[in-house]
Symmetry: C2
Subunit: 117 residues, 2 copies
DNA sequence: GCCTCCTATCGTTAGGTGACGATAAGGTGG
DNA sequence: CCACCTTATCGTCACCTAACGATAGGAGGC
């Protein structure tokens, strides 16, 4: 349990220059595997909750997430790792802490893939 | 392996009277668990592929799906069961076969939940 | 009624997942 | 430099998942 909550955690804002459209197809074998991987990463309530916290940016620092979820710190860290490896979030080391934020590009990609169904 | 492919499999078309809007919230604990469950069901390439086949209605009968996927019949049946239990598809017994089709309502619900991220 | 076709279920096995506590690693502040 | 805070990783355990072959069971044709 952390003693004080960081009042305004900050991740690097989404880089405007990276906002180029995603040209990859939304169908086919590669797209199927990509969608399956992203869906699998979202396939746990705790990870959905983490995504929501980060989307609304009410929390960004790992410890804040640990405080909210009814899980051990190591378990939360594991869930963060799953989301990060799927590309859905990004973690930046901010001094002694780690600041997590959503990867908007991947989230858009997920929505496009789901939308193709 | 089935000997002849059903040329025009038919599931009951989506019932227009069921097309009432879904009033459930897209956020909160229940929504998180619902999204996690749906995402988990999609979290396998074979199941994504099945969903695509059913959405484009190029196949509907179980055997046709088995013919396309490089998996044993029992494995495909298991994947169909997962999708059915998640509410994403529906199976109707059609004589000696089983005709599967997407459950449009659940698919719309999934899109709404993903869209809320 | 019997035989065939189609599908679901069972049983099994290998490997993955989720949970935790313990521990390591890295940064800050005194 | 040392103590502390924060987070990642390791080790472990119970459980779930995905795959298969074998089998059961229902429908339909002869």
């Amino acid at each position: 349990m952390r003693l004080n909550v960081t009042e305004a955690p900050r991740c690097e804002p989404p880089n405007q220059s990276e906002e180029t459209p995603d040209l990859r197809p939304v169908e086919g074998k590669a797209a199927d595997e990509e969608l399956a991987e992203l869906a699998k990463a979202l396939g746990h309530p705790a990870r959905v909750q983490i995504m929501r916290m980060l989307v609304r940016r009410s929390a960004c620092v790992c410890g804040d997430i640990v405080d909210v979820l009814p899980l051990a710190q190591s378990t939360v860290s594991q869930h963060l790792k799953v989301l990060k490896e799927a590309g859905l979030i990004r973690g930046e080391i901010d001094g002694p802490r780690t600041c997590y934020c959503v990867e908007p590009r991947t989230l858009r990609r997920l929505k496009a893939l789901i939308g193709s169904l």
